[in-house]
């Protein structure tokens, strides 16, 4: 059974996969990971996937509009933003206001990828005009420069900070300005294994599946 899932789900879905296969010994789940837009294109081009888990609703909507879903898409987790700083927070960053300080080295993702778009929305919500020193092409590139201590702060997802295992610290962004990304999941109309596909979605939405996902920093909807 093939599960097409957003790259940000890589570690979490790997653990969900082992738990699912433990309970369904005759099933072999294969994870097809990539950016949500690339996965969407694959599905629309007719790639034989069973389940689609997207990191935002717009890609799922496009698949639904093309009639490629066998049911309704459901939001299975959300992911919020955090301020990422190098371990020890050498610049003493306390909140989004610090993104306006010109003497700090501040990085964001480029405007056109989700983390850059959501990050700017959060700054906008907080009424902060950031003094940006670099717009990194993706969240991995941004994290690398924060990990190396070359940037004082950036905005990433909570799950990205957790995935660095301690080289980056996360600072909370208040809920009233934070931007929440919703992750929808659905079985596909052309699924070669529709029964297993439905079981996977059910498992992801179950208490056990949700417990695994929240341990990686995702939030239950």
């Amino acid at each position: 059974m093939l599960v097409s899932a957003a790259a940000s789900l890589t570690d979490a879905f790997a653990e969900v996969e082992s738990a699912f296969e433990e309970e369904n010994r005759d099933v072999d789940v294969v994870l097809n990971l990539g950016s949500s837009s690339a996965l969407r294109e694959q599905i629309l081009e007719g790639a034989p996937a069973d389940v689609f888990a997207s990191a935002n609703t717009s890609n799922m909507d496009q698949v639904a509009d093309a009639g490629e879903l066998s049911g309704e898409a459901e939001i299975f987790v959300t992911n919020s933003l955090q301020i990422a700083v190098p371990t020890g927070n050498p610049a003493g960053v306390t909140g989004l206001e610090d993104f306006a300080r010109e003497e700090l080295l501040i990085g964001l993702c480029v405007e056109d990828v989700p983390c850059g778009d959501f990050g700017r929305q959060a700054l906008d919500n907080a009424g902060v005009t950031p003094s940006i020193d670099t717009n990194e092409p993706d969240v991995r590139a941004l994290l690398t420069k924060i990990e190396a201590g070359e940037l004082d702060a950036g905005i990433t997802y909570v799950t990205d900070v957790l995935s660095t295992s301690g080289t980056v610290e996360g600072l909370e962004i208040p809920a009233e300005v934070n931007v929440v990304a919703e992750y929808p999941i659905a079985t596909l109309a052309g699924a070669p294994n529709p029964v297993t596909a439905a079981a996977w979605v059910e498992f992801v939405l179950s208490d056990e599946g949700q417990a695994i996902l929240t341990s990686y920093g995702f939030i239950s909807p």
């Binding site: 990085g107 480029v110 056109d112 717009n135 092409p137 590139a141 420069k145 190396a148 201590g149 070359e150």
Partner: protein
């Protein structure tokens, strides 16, 4: 007088197989650019090219690539001379190190630069304390990344030319009373001139097109570190027309320089 044997081919018709294979080779270079040209939004082009993303990136690319070429001349030519003329232990290691940026993925070079010259880097930390100069996320960072990736072209070309140069000419000039500086200026440089120019052009062109080391070491900010290749990369995600317009600018500028200089200088090679 002996008969002219097989030195010149008698037939005017070139071998068909050779021409066909050569044409396939040429098509590899031509087809992608035809594809690019087919996507150019000609009617919107003036407006796209006048946008500040394009003008900022073009200005930054021209300034940083020329500065990198200048630095390559100042330190690269002496390095080439040392490698060609001095016998010292570890010369082949030096030659390997100089060639390394040619084969390494530029991203690796950029990461190495970041770890060495970043503010937490081996050299970068003391550099910042001593001078206040911070290379990452600055225009100088772009120049450093460009120089790192492009200078090998100049060093390798000039070193090769110096090694092939018959040193008896320099010796003759010196024995006729020419000082070292005069020998360099009147004998050595003119004799390696075509190689020098070829090396300079390749160095500039490589710097002008540099992407991986720049974005890894210097980051990406319009007007400060976003050169043309970076602007193309970012625009491809969102604004295909601007990306194509930027690519067209790169192709036209690079091709113009390469063709003009080839006509003027490389004939001599």
């Amino acid at each position: 007088m002996k008969a002219d044997t097989s030195v010149r081919p008698r037939t005017r018709r070139p071998p068909v197989l050779l021409v066909v294979l050569g044409a396939i080779g040429l098509a590899m270079f031509v087809i992608p650019f035809v594809g690019l040209l087919a996507r150019v939004p000609w009617s919107d082009l003036p407006a796209l090219l006048a946008g500040d993303v394009v003008t900022d990136a073009l200005r930054l690319s021209v300034v940083t690539s020329l500065t990198a070429t200048l630095i390559a001349v100042v330190v690269g030519i002496p390095l080439a001379w040392i490698m060609a003329r001095l016998d010292f232990p570890g010369r082949s290691l030096v030659r390997g190190l100089v060639t390394l940026p040619l084969v390494l993925p530029p991203v690796v070079g950029g990461a190495a630069l970041l770890f060495a010259l970043g503010r937490r880097g081996l050299v970068g930390e003391s550099l910042e304390q001593a001078t206040g100069l911070l290379l990452p996320f600055s225009t100088w960072g772009v120049v450093v990344a460009n120089t790192f990736v492009a200078m090998p072209f100049l060093v390798i070309t000039v070193e090769g030319a110096l090694r092939n140069l018959d040193q008896r000419y320099e010796g003759a000039a010196a024995s006729l009373g020419a000082g070292r500086w005069t020998v360099l200026r009147r004998v050595t440089l003119p004799m390696i001139g075509p190689s020098l120019v070829a090396g300079l052009v390749l160095t500039w062109a490589r710097a002008f097109g540099e992407f991986g080391a720049t974005i890894t070491f210097a980051g990406n900010l319009q007007g400060r570190t976003q050169t043309l290749p970076l602007a193309v990369f970012v625009a491809l995600e969102s604004d295909r027309d601007t990306a194509v317009a930027l690519s067209l600018v790169m192709v036209v500028v690079s091709l113009a320089v390469l063709v003009t200089l080839r006509e003027r200088w490389w004939k001599a090679l």
